[in-house]
Structures are given as structure tokens and as C-alpha cells.
């Protein structure tokens, strides 16, 4: 039997290791993520005309619009070949294309695309080539090469160093070297003298530009770096996995909850322990503890159906609330959630203070309030801190209240008071909401586990603090 006891202990130790281990293991998928980059590039009609909006429109490209209009490009995007001059005849523009090969000699028959878009890991570099020429009908003196980042792509966030470089000017054109840093100039244009391709074979002899993506770091650090950013938008084609808005959401909701529950809980526990008669205490304490066993999803619904509408009624115009589901409402219900925990633990701490302490204070002629604030509270300090930290630990991992009441929008707070009336989102509810809709064992899945790991680390840190603050206590609810 003793063996069984030891086995149970081993099992528990294993499961502790296992929990942390698996959170870390599953987060490894986060580091499989790719850091794509994408630019729409168009060679446009030169000096005179204004910048062609169609050519820069994500719905279309000059190439595509010249040929067949905006429609039908998306489906065939991978299959567009360089248009022949015959196909382009009657079109007064220029034509361009991207080659997904490194060797410009393979120009013929190569797939053409209207954008530079590749998914690469951060440690991998690449070069894409881009050819520009004008059709024989072209009258302008210059060709304009304009570029802008792909929808949702922010070059500043790219771990690659992205450069647009003129590799080769056509014969007979002399130009200074051109090299543009795309992280600082994500959108812009340059002009080059007109060069006309007189035959299909000549097309490849035009201007040749290269988009060079140079790795600056490896994928691990790039993923980690991107994780500590300010935008969480994992479903974009260039996904953003920034933890900070979620972390701030969780912390702010927790802080509001504590700001409500700590003073209220402290006052109540002092009253229960020092003022109320034993009989009253015997009845009221269990009643308050009853609240701790109300499932959090029920508290969430309570907030949704009663508190949220009331919040809009009271603060709606003052805080410019669109809906009752926001930081403040979530924080208030979080306060309600941790109130009984704080009262219960703090009251225990105060009750455990020996009576001579109280008698001594009375003998010194202290009033009740002086006795409490000058003697008892300082003496019970560790217990009170433990109560607060217990509340903190409880609030930071709470899922359902935040899920139901936060409004579900991951935005960075602007640092204004009206932020508390805005919808937000926390870490645990993000895990709960998104886990069902991710492709398993892919980067998004990995990032959700990374969020879980962060939450777990917080729990460990709070517990360590709790242990540091002296007496071991029961960290259960």
C-alpha cells in the first residue's frame, strides 16, 4: 500500500511536469509560422496621368485590368502568363509581371503575377524578379513603377529586410543604381525612362527589378518578437499574433475587479471578524462563501442580462459606450467573483490574530478603529496580501466572465478614461473562443498554447509570491 502512495505521488509529480511540458510542446507549432511578405507592384503610365488607382487596387492590377478587368483574376492568379504584345495591342499602358524564378533568362513561359507574395520563414531569404516594359503604342516619356504593401501586410513588422533594387536597365538606358528600403518606404513610386519592347522576345530585355528579402534573424526569435506586439488578428493573410492587447485586457479587467473587491472585501472581513457578533458571523460568512460556488458562467449571464444594460443606462453617454459588454462591466463582475474569496481568506487571517493583541490595544486606550488600523491590520498583513493574490490568481485565469462580458474585441487601450467603456478581450477567453476554429497543429494553434503558457507562468509567479509572503496557505477556492 505504501507503494501505491508513493506511486500516486510520482504520478502527481509527473502530471505537474506534464502540464507545463505539454503546454510548451504544443506551443512549438507557433514557431512554424511563416513571415510572408507581399507587395502589389504596377508599372503605370508615366509623367502626366495621375497615379492609376486601379493599378494599385488590391482587387485588380494593371496587368489584369488591361486584359480582362478585375474579375477572374483571383481564381486564375497562379496561372497568368505574360501577355503577348498582340494581346496587349490597343492597350495604351505598360505591362509588367513578376517572375517567381531567380533567373531572368527563364522569362518565357514563366508565370506572371501582379504581386510579390511569398510565405517564407524568417530565416529564409528570397529574391523575386519583376520585369517592366512598354508596349509599342506607349507615348509617355517615362514608366512609373509604383508599389504598395499587400492588404494587411505591414513591412515594418516584417522580420526580413525588404529592398526593391534595379537589377538591370535595358540596353541603351543608363541609370544610377536604384535601391529602396521598403520598410521605411512601404508605399511609393519611381520613374524610369520609357523602354519599348518591339517584339515578344524582347520583353525579357526590359527593366528588371528585384524584391530582395534578407533574413535578419531566425524564425524562433522573429516569432517571439512578433508575439510581443500590439495587435492580435490571427485570421488575416498576414496574421498578427501580438499578445499585448490580450494581456492588457486581462490585467485591466483584473485590476478593476481588485479595485472593487479589495476595499469592499477588506471592510467586510474586518467587520465580520472584529465588529459583528459571533452569531452573526457564523451565519453571514457561509452565506458570502456561497457566492464563491456560483459557477462563473452563471455570473457571466447575470452580468449580461442585468449589469450590462444598466451600465449603458448609467455610463452610456459619459463613457461613449456602444454596448454594455466592455472592460468596466467585465471588471465589475470580476470583482463580484473574487469578493467572497477575498473576504473569506482575509477574515481567516484576522481571526487568527491572537486575542492578547486586541486586549493590549484596548489596554493602551485605543479606540476600536485605532486597534484595527494600527495593530490588527499590520499584524495580519501577510494574510491580507495572500487574500489579494488569491483574488488576483482567480481573476487572471477566469474565462467565462470575460468571454461573455468583455465584448470580444482585441484592441490596445488608448490611455484615455473612456477606454473602460470600450470592448476588450483577455487571454483565457481568446483561447476558449478561437481554439475551436483553428487548424490543429498549425501556427495559430501553437500561439493559443503560447497564450496558455503565459497564463500558466503568471499563475506560477503569483504562487511563488504567495509562498514568499510567508505562511503556506491553501490555494484553492
Amino acid at each position: 500500500m505504501e507503494r501505491a502512495v508513493a506511486a500516486a505521488a510520482v504520478l502527481v509529480a509527473v502530471s505537474i511536469l506534464g502540464l507545463g511540458f505539454y503546454l510548451a510542446m504544443e506551443s512549438r507549432f507557433a514557431f512554424d509560422r511563416k513571415f510572408g511578405f507581399g507587395f502589389r507592384v504596377a508599372a503605370q503610365t508615366g509623367d502626366t496621368a495621375p497615379l492609376d488607382p486601379v493599378g494599385m487596387d488590391p482587387n485588380a492590377s494593371l496587368l489584369a485590368s488591361n486584359l480582362e478587368g478585375a474579375e477572374g483574376v483571383d481564381e486564375k492568379e497562379d496561372g497568368i502568363f505574360a501577355p503577348t504584345l498582340e494581346e496587349l495591342s490597343g492597350v495604351s499602358g505598360t505591362a509588367t509581371g513578376t517572375l517567381l524564378v531567380d533567373d531572368p533568362k527563364n522569362f518565357k513561359g514563366t508565370l506572371f503575377r501582379d504581386d510579390w507574395r511569398l510565405n517564407k520563414s524568417a530565416g529564409e531569404g528570397t529574391t523575386m524578379l519583376f520585369c517592366a516594359y512598354a508596349t509599342p503604342e506607349y507615348k509617355e516619356r517615362a514608366i512609373r513603377i509604383a508599389w504598395e504593401p499587400d492588404a494587411s501586410f505591414d513591412p515594418k513588422l516584417s522580420p526580413h529586410k525588404l529592398t526593391l533594387r534595379l537589377v538591370r536597365a535595358p540596353d541603351g538606358v543608363t541609370l544610377d543604381p536604384i535601391s529602396v528600403d521598403l520598410s521605411t518606404n512601404p508605399k511609393g513610386e519611381i520613374k524610369v525612362p520609357t523602354w519599348i519592347a518591339k517584339s515578344d522576345d524582347q520583353r525579357a530585355n526590359g527593366y528588371l527589378f528585384a524584391l530582395e528579402a534578407e533574413p535578419q534573424t531566425n524564425n524562433f526569435f522573429a516569432t517571439l518578437g512578433a508575439f510581443f506586439r500590439t495587435s492580435w488578428d490571427p485570421t488575416l493573410p498576414y496574421p498578427r499574433f501580438g499578445l499585448l492587447p490580450l494581456l492588457l485586457g486581462t490585467l485591466l479587467i483584473t485590476l478593476i475587479g481588485l479595485a472593487i473587491a479589495v476595499p469592499l472585501g477588506a471592510g467586510t472581513s474586518v467587520w465580520l471578524s472584529e465588529v459583528a457578533s459571533p452569531k452573526v458571523r457564523e451565519i453571514l460568512k457561509p452565506v458570502i462563501e456561497l457566492l464563491a460556488s456560483v459557477p462563473t458562467v452563471v455570473l457571466g449571464y447575470f452580468g449580461l442580462m442585468l449589469v450590462a444594460p444598466a451600465m449603458v443606462g448609467v455610463f452610456g453617454s459619459a463613457l461613449r459606450m456602444e454596448s454594455g459588454r466592455n472592460l468596466l462591466t467585465a471588471g465589475i463582475m470580476m470583482g463580484v467573483l473574487i469578493l467572497p474569496t477575498i473576504i473569506s481568506v482575509a477574515e481567516d487571517a484576522l481571526r487568527s490574530m491572537p486575542n492578547p493583541l486586541r486586549d493590549g490595544a484596548a489596554a493602551l486606550g485605543m479606540t476600536k478603529s485605532e486597534e484595527i488600523s494600527k495593530v490588527l491590520l499590520p499584524a495580519a498583513r501577510t494574510g491580507l496580501v495572500a487574500a489579494i493574490m488569491l483574488g488576483f490568481a482567480r481573476a487572471i485565469g477566469e474565462t467565462m466572465i470575460v468571454w461573455i462580458l468583455s465584448g470580444g474585441t482585441a484592441t490596445m487601450p488608448q490611455g484615455r478614461l473612456s477606454d473602460i467603456g470600450q470592448p476588450t478581450r483577455g487571454i483565457p477567453d481568446t483561447i476558449g473562443i478561437e481554439m475551436g476554429n483553428v487548424e490543429f497543429e498549425m501556427p495559430h494553434y501553437g500561439h493559443l498554447f503560447l497564450l496558455g503558457l503565459i497564463l500558466f507562468l503568471f499563475t506560477i509567479a503569483i504562487n511563488m509570491l504567495g509562498h514568499y509572503y510567508g505562511r503556506r496557505r491553501q490555494w484553492q477556492h
Binding site: 488590391p58 482587387n59 478585375a70 474579375e71 492588404a151 494587411s152 488578428d233 485570421t235 488575416l236 493573410p237 456602444e322 454596448s323 459588454r325 465584448g407 470580444g408 474585441t409 482585441a410 470592448p423 473562443i433 481554439m435 475551436g436 476554429n437 483553428v438 487548424e439 490543429f440
Partner: protein, 269 residues
């Protein structure tokens, strides 16, 4: 070892019950189908939500008879299913069309898909820019909890970022309420949420600027003339058979499709 035995046991599927797993978008209509199917035929159907990916994963692992998904299965998922012996068979079960709603006082005749995109990414901020009155546009969207959010972002925004002024609402009924009381408001959602509501008008949408605009009526969505729509899918392992087939037949039957319409989708035809 015990756990492995339990695991082995758990993989075995139960007989007689059709299990439907997946998409939260489809959950409501799945439930109604299951209930009506149970009532008319006595067959039993178990419906689980959790999200399209949970459904697809269950399908790949062979633990669900039907995977409900609001998106087509990805190539990688189909391959992964095939490597485990499941052949993905795609069955569209209903049509989901999103209506665009504005306030009754708004006289705008139609919007193109591009106008919509520009409104939602924040390039157009005043109705004046679209030939309407000088009135700021108040843009409402569903929040990211919902499947329509992703659908709208992909198909209308072409995956661009939402504009800074977009207000995210937790439910389509709240969107409808806001649009009804905001003169410059615009919102999207299932047509059932807007139709017949006071102070709300549905705007006809054209695929291309200057093209013919269509209202989100049943015929227009079904004939794909109305541009904002998608299929919702069931996936089965190969051609459905037995109870699974019976259930899917019911879903595709006029009675089943009528239920889809009651929930706010469009029937297939």
C-alpha cells in the same frame, strides 16, 4: 495501459446515431434539423459545436459521421483525411447570404462591393462621397466571435484591416437595433435579422461599380446575382450511406430546406 484500453474503446463509433460536429455558424440549423428529423423519422442525431476545425479534425480522425463547416475544407486537411482513410465528400447544405442594412432615412440606391470595402476599411467615411447627403457613416460589424465576421472580412474586405471607426457588436440583433436608430448607420448580417424591422432598409448590392445592383432576395441569392453569399457544407466520408444518408436526404429535402430558411439562411435549389 488502462487509459489506452479506454482510448481503444472510445474510438469505436456507436451504431444508429448520426453524429454531426463542427461549425458554430451551422449549430443552430443543425440542431433544428436534428430535432425535426428525430420527430419525423425517429432517427437519432447528435449535434456538437466547437468550431469548423474541431469538426474537421473529428472527421479526419473518423470520430464523426458528418462534419459541418462554414468554410470549404483546406487542401491540407483533405490530404490529411485521405492519409487516414477518409475521403472528404463535400455536400453544400444551404446558402448563407449577408444583407447590407442602412437606416430608413438613407436614400442611397445601391452600393458596389468596392464601395462596401472602402466603407469598412475606412476609405469612405461620409455618405456624400457616395452621392448621398452630408452625413458621417457609422459602421457596424459583428465582433470576431462570429463566423460572419471572418466571412465578411474575406469576401468584402478582401482581407484588409477593418477601419478604425468600425464598431463591433456582439450580435446581429444589436447591429439591427443600432442601425435603426442611427441615421448614418450601416451594418451587415443574415437577412432574417433585418427584414421587417422598423427604420431599416436593405441596400441592393452590385458586384461591380456601375453594374446592376440586386437586393438580397431569395431568387437573387440563389441565382448568385447577389454578390455576398457562401455555401455552408457537410462533409462525409465518401458517399453517405445508411442513417447518415437518411439524415442528409432529410436536410436537403424541401422540409429540411424550409427549416434552413426559418433560421435565416437560403435554401438550395
Amino acid at each position: 495501459m488502462i487509459l489506452e484500453a479506454v482510448a481503444a474503446l472510445a474510438i469505436g463509433k456507436s451504431l444508429g446515431t448520426v453524429s454531426v460536429k463542427g461549425s458554430d455558424t451551422l449549430l443552430v440549423v443543425n440542431q433544428r434539423w436534428a430535432e425535426a428529423y428525430g420527430k419525423t423519422t425517429g432517427g437519432s442525431v447528435a449535434v456538437t459545436g466547437g468550431g469548423s476545425s474541431i469538426g474537421i479534425r473529428a472527421f479526419i480522425n473518423g470520430v464523426a459521421d458528418i462534419c459541418a463547416s462554414s468554410r470549404p475544407m483546406r487542401e491540407s486537411e483533405i490530404r490529411s483525411a485521405r492519409s487516414r482513410g477518409s475521403i472528404a465528400n463535400e455536400i453544400p447544405v444551404c446558402l448563407d447570404g449577408l444583407a447590407i442594412a442602412v437606416n430608413q432615412s438613407n436614400k442611397i440606391e445601391s452600393l458596389s462591393m468596392d464601395d462596401l470595402r472602402r466603407i469598412y476599411v475606412g476609405q469612405i467615411t461620409n455618405w456624400k462621397q457616395l452621392g448621398g447627403p452630408d452625413e458621417a457613416i457609422v459602421v457596424f460589424s459583428r465582433d470576431s466571435n462570429s463566423g460572419t465576421y471572418g466571412f465578411f472580412q474575406l469576401n468584402v474586405l478582401k482581407n484588409q484591416n477593418w477601419g478604425p471607426q468600425v464598431r463591433f457588436m456582439p450580435s446581429t440583433s444589436e447591429e439591427a437595433r443600432e442601425v435603426a436608430r442611427t441615421d448614418g448607420g450601416i451594418a451587415y448580417g443574415g437577412v432574417a435579422y433585418f427584414q421587417g424591422k422598423k427604420n431599416i432598409r436593405l441596400v441592393p448590392i452590385s458586384a461591380k461599380k456601375g453594374g446592376e445592383a440586386f437586393a438580397p432576395s431569395e431568387q437573387n441569392v440563389r441565382s448568385k446575382k447577389y454578390p455576398i453569399w457562401r455555401y455552408l457544407y457537410y462533409y462525409t466520408n465518401g458517399k453517405p450511406s445508411g442513417d447518415t444518408k437518411k439524415f442528409i436526404d432529410f436536410v436537403l429535402s424541401p422540409a429540411g430546406q424550409r427549416i434552413a430558411e426559418e433560421v435565416g439562411y437560403y435554401s438550395l435549389k
